[in-house]
């Protein structure tokens, strides 16, 4: 692993963290697809800014791109609030339109500008180290690493400073407004930050990877916890894991790094979806099994208690007749009765089942008398 590899990995990790932080807020507000809309729309800002300043390295391009991302969000809102189009349709309208405008402009300028639409979608992570920041003759690491690093730092500072109001606005904007916190200010703040993230990250990572990294780690984190602070920490962690894993896999297979990172984001999410402690598929499956078992035990206990002192007890509570009375297959009766015996909820005297005091209490609770 040489210096160039290390620099590439650094860029990938910083980009992943920047996206994960901004993306967590979008996912929480059910605005995941806004990431998609923003990341497609910024191309227009870049092209327009380029037409105005004619310099691909100019910071005006950054500003133009960020503004066009915010403009896209504003347009989506406008369609929603003023023009009566639903959110999903509004997004589906806005970003193809802005993207089309950009593609047309690029096609008209093709002879004079090296704006490769392909690079916009795929990113140039592999080439990031070729563009270092130089002061005098010494180079201080890739330019995108500095940009993304600054972005991560600013995001962290802002989130720490405004954590409390941000949290209130994000989960209950009506309450926030009533205690004098302006929801609009924070919403547009986060939108601008998300747009800026897309802009800084997409040069290195490509617009689609930005979407995957904004949505994937945050969604994975939400499966593990429902506390905002923990979700943020976990999202950053998952983003780092995905970026590192994707980097090494991509380098090993010699394929597109950003594509591999996107795939790894999905892979990490898939693992979380299966394995997360409470929300995970396996945990839910186990919980369901437990609940079914519990319900069956309860049913058995209630049956036994109902017939406890009745004359037909010898018929109703006989172990080998239970399958008829409970309408269960014999194997199930075996299973449930054995578990109940082990838990001391049921006694068995010569094939005749009865409740223990503990079992009686449970049955009583279930029936509710």
């Amino acid at each position: 692993m040489d210096n160039a590899d290390l620099q590439t990995l650094l860029v990938a990790c910083l980009g992943a963290v920047a996206c994960a932080l901004g993306g967590a807020f979008l996912v929480l507000r059910r605005l995941s697809l806004l990431a998609d809309a923003i990341s497609h729309s910024i191309l227009l800002g870049i092209v327009v800014a380029w037409v105005l300043v004619k310099d691909l390295g100019s910071p005006w391009l950054l500003l133009g791109a960020t503004l066009s991302g915010v403009f896209a969000v504003w347009l989506v809102e406008w369609f929603q609030k003023k023009a009566g189009i639903r959110e999903d349709a509004a997004m589906g309208l806005v970003f193809p339109a802005l993207f089309s405008a950009a593609v047309i402009m690029i096609s008209q300028l093709a002879h004079s500008v090296h704006l490769d639409t392909d690079a916009v979608i795929n990113g140039r992570l592999e080439l990031a180290f070729l563009d270092p920041v130089r002061i005098g003759n010494t180079s201080y690491g890739p330019r995108s690493a500095w940009m993304l690093g600054t972005l991560v730092f600013v995001q962290l500072v802002l989130i720490t400073l405004f954590f409390q109001p941000l949290r209130i606005v994000w989960f209950d904007s009506a309450f926030a407004a009533s205690i004098g916190i302006s929801p609009l200010l924070y919403q547009w703040g986060v939108t601008t930050a998300a747009s800026l993230t897309c802009v800084s990250a997409f040069d290195a990572l490509g617009s689609i990877l930005v979407v995957a990294l904004m949505v994937g780690p945050a969604s994975s984190a939400l499966l593990w916890s429902s506390r905002l602070s923990r979700v943020l920490v976990l999202a950053v962690l998952f983003a780092l894991i995905s970026a590192t894993l994707g980097f090494f896999l991509g380098a090993w297979l010699d394929v597109s790094l950003s594509g591999m990172i996107a795939v790894c984001t999905g892979f990490v999410f898939g693992l979380c979806w299966l394995l997360a402690p409470e929300e995970g598929w396996i945990a839910q499956w186990a919980r369901k099994r437990r609940q079914i078992q519990e319900f069956r035990t309860g049913l058995l206990l209630v049956h036994l208690r109902t017939h406890e002192n009745s004359p037909e007890r010898h018929e109703e509570c006989r172990f080998d007749r239970l399958n008829i009375h409970l309408k269960w297959p014999q194997a199930l009766v075996d299973d449930v009765a054995k578990a109940a015996l082990e838990r001391d909820l049921v006694t068995s005297i010569g094939g005749l089942l009865g409740c223990t005091p503990a079992g009686r209490t449970m049955a009583k609770q279930l029936v509710g008398d």
């Binding site: 996912v27 059910r30 605005l31 995941s32 697809l33 990431a35 998609d36 497609h40 003023k82 023009a83 009566g84 189009i85 639903r86 999903d88 349709a89 997004m91 589906g92 309208l93 193809p96 339109a97 993207f99 089309s100 405008a101 593609v103 047309i104 096609s107 008209q108 639409t117 392909d118 979608i121 795929n122 490509g206 689609i208 990877l209 979407v211 995957a212 990294l213 904004m214 949505v215 994937g216 945050a218 969604s219 499966l223 991509g250 297979l253 010699d254 394929v255 597109s256 950003s258 594509g259 591999m260 990172i261 996107a262 795939v263 984001t265 999905g266 999410f269 979806w273 929300e279 839910q284």
Partner: protein, 315 residues
């Protein structure tokens, strides 16, 4: 027969003959996606088309990788399979409320496109002449529509129109009131599947014309624009189909005239048409408001949906 018609048309109006098949193709695709997309708009999953078109791309590449040539059959099959898988995954993840549906959609789309990027970079390492046109699917190359493609597009348009017309009353009930549809004994999952199948089919076929990124606009724009002109579902679907077809025709001619890329031109034209529709709607609304002063109902509400058995609230 078709080809002959095309030539006659071309001669009589002095149009570039190659353009005729392009115009016909985009018009047919616009018709199919417009009609189908209006349903997507009503069902509130307009962005599904976007996700499916992103997800179909890796399937396309995988088909190419397997066959080694640009065999359309295998590529289309791969694209359909990939899109169907993405749709299944999105539904699976979004079910049960553990993952937000929008997040599931965005994530599946991102990952599938990541796979596409991986495949693409793998292909680029051993370049061959055959893969030259693969990138056209990313941004679309309507200019490459040939006469041979027209029958396929005719079939697609006819299939969409036939299926929509065949189950019209059911589509209507399912779109507006799913639980009512279930209570009537309509097999909703079957119709959902049919709808998804048509959507996937038109997305995959449309990829070549509109490209991955702009496919969703072809689905959504005609529906949204037509929504300003009508509140009846039958006229909405008809109008969206016609709008889509005209956008295809107009966009292709405009693109040819200005030598712009056709896909984006169609989308931009659609966007302009959307604004015109909105303006017309606003003017009619203002006029109506002037006719009936002092009614609180005249404050702006989105165009009401015609719920069966309930009169629209605004006029």
């Amino acid at each position: 027969m078709k080809a002959m018609d095309g030539t006659i048309l071309a001669i009589s109006y002095e149009i570039n003959p190659a353009l005729v098949s392009v115009v016909l193709g985009t018009a047919l695709l616009g018709l199919a996606t417009g009609a189908l997309g209006s349903l997507a708009v009503l069902r509130r999953n307009s962005l599904l088309g976007d996700a499916l078109s992103h997800a179909a791309y890796p399937g396309l590449l995988a088909g190419f990788l397997l066959s080694g040539t640009k065999s359309v059959g295998l590529m289309v099959l791969g694209a359909i399979l990939a899109a169907a898988m993405a749709l299944y995954l999105t539904n699976l993840l979004g079910k049960g409320g553990r993952v937000r549906p929008d997040a599931a959609l965005a994530l599946v789309m991102g990952c599938f496109f990541g796979i596409a990027m991986v495949l693409q970079s793998h292909l680029q390492q051993n370049p061959s002449a055959a893969q030259a046109g693969l990138k056209d699917y990313l941004f679309g190359q309507a200019g490459l529509l040939l006469e041979e493609d027209i029958p396929l597009l005719v079939c697609l348009a006819l299939l969409v129109l036939f299926v929509l017309g065949w189950g019209w009353s059911r589509w209507k009930i399912i779109t507006f009131d799913r639980s009512h549809a279930l209570s009537l004994g309509i097999h909703v999952p079957f119709w959902d599947m049919l709808y998804s199948f048509l959507l996937i089919l038109s997305v995959v076929i449309g990829l070549q014309v509109a490209g991955v990124v702009l496919m969703s606009a072809l689905l959504v724009m005609p529906g949204c624009a037509s929504r300003y002109w009508t509140t009846r579902m039958s006229s909405l679907v008809t109008l969206s189909g016609i709008t889509g077809a005209f956008l295809g025709i107009g966009g292709t001619f405009t693109a040819d005239e200005l030598s712009w890329p056709p896909g984006p031109t169609i989308v931009l034209l659609g966007f302009i048409w959307l604004f015109i529709s909105y303006g017309a709607f606003e003017i009619r609304r203002k006029k109506r408001a002037l006719r009936q002063p002092f009614s609180p109902g005249n404050s702006f509400t989105p165009p009401p949906f015609p719920i069966p058995g309930k009169a629209p609230s605004n006029g």
